[in-house]
């Protein structure tokens, strides 16, 4: 009897969203905007980019924890690539490898005992991990030539500098900073 009644009602499906989902969406939208804007900047070397979207990842990490930072970071790579038309292209794969590595290293860094890192530390780790992951994938898949490693020190230096800058910006964005262990 009950089941019959239910069947007669029009089918309305709604995905239940939590306030946290909304927050992730907003922050990811912000990160995607920066990502897309930044892709318009010219670059002297392939793979060299300020990575300002990293600022959002770090700020989210400090404010809302690792899980949300991972969501925002991966959503940014996915939606950014859809908007730029690079989905599943080499650029997308490189970006994904970089984001995956930086999220991975942040997971480890969040679990350090003691006071742990501040925004600058997290940002440097994320930038270096991003570059290493991206570079290794580029070498393995696209340019499997040992000579490409000559670029590596230069790119790592750039990653360090941009990591410091992003970290300072993220630190200024998040005044109070909480534990990132969630």
């Amino acid at each position: 009897m009950m089941t019959e009644c239910r069947r007669r009602q029009p089918i309305r499906q709604q995905i239940q969203t939590t306030p946290e989902d909304h927050r992730i969406a907003w922050l990811a939208a912000l990160a995607i905007t920066i990502h897309v804007l930044e892709s318009a900047l010219p670059s002297p070397l392939p793979g060299l980019k300020p990575g300002l979207a990293n600022v959002i990842t770090i700020a989210v990490l400090l404010q809302f924890g690792w899980r949300m930072a991972a969501w925002v970071s991966l959503l940014r790579v996915l939606c950014g690539s859809l908007l730029l038309g690079t989905f599943l292209s080499p650029t997308f794969l490189l970006s994904l490898a970089g984001a995956g590595c930086s999220i991975g290293i942040l997971w480890i860094a969040c679990r350090l005992p003691g006071r742990g890192f501040g925004p600058v530390g997290y940002s440097i780790l994320a930038a270096l991990a991003h570059m290493t992951g991206q570079f290794t994938l580029a070498w393995l898949l696209f340019i499997p030539h040992p000579e490409i490693w000559h670029l590596f020190p230069v790119l790592m230096t750039a990653a360090l500098l941009f990591g410091i800058v992003s970290g300072i910006i993220a630190g200024a964005m998040t005044r109070e900073h909480r534990q990132c262990r969630t």
């Binding site: 006071r115 742990g116 890192f117 501040g118 530390g121 000579e147 020190p153």
Partner: protein, 119 residues
């Protein structure tokens, strides 16, 4: 900046020079000569001894000289002699070929140089 931040920063700045010395040393120093004749498997010859190679191709015998870690064609039965005009090959990755005689030689280093880059 927490203490961990400073430690990380110092460690990274300290290890960057290591990256440079590790990846930038030995650049372009040729160690071996790769000799290719027709479709036969390439031969790799060390450059540490001075010697002269006689290579038999379809047209005849080409001679390649190895001296002081360099290599060049000294003689070849081809009409154009481009291979001889290529002169000494000095850096890793440099290549000279005698197409009519189907012989090519290339210097190899620890990290061979690009012959082309495309992005």
């Amino acid at each position: 900046m927490t203490r961990a931040d400073w430690v990380l920063l110092v460690a990274v700045i300290g290890s960057l020079p290591l990256l440079y010395t590790h990846f930038w040393s030995d650049e372009g120093v040729a160690r071996h000569l790769q000799v290719q004749i027709g479709n036969r498997p390439a031969r790799i010859i060390a450059l540490d001894q001075d010697r002269e190679l006689t290579l038999d191709g379809p047209l005849g015998t080409s001679r390649v000289e190895i001296r002081d870690g360099r290599a060049r064609f000294v003689n070849s039965p081809c009409p154009g002699k481009n291979c001889i005009q290529a002169g000494w090959l000095t850096g890793a990755g440099e290549l000279a070929a005698c197409l009519p005689n189907r012989i090519s030689i290339q210097l190899l280093g620890m990290h061979p140089r690009f012959d082309a880059i495309n992005f």
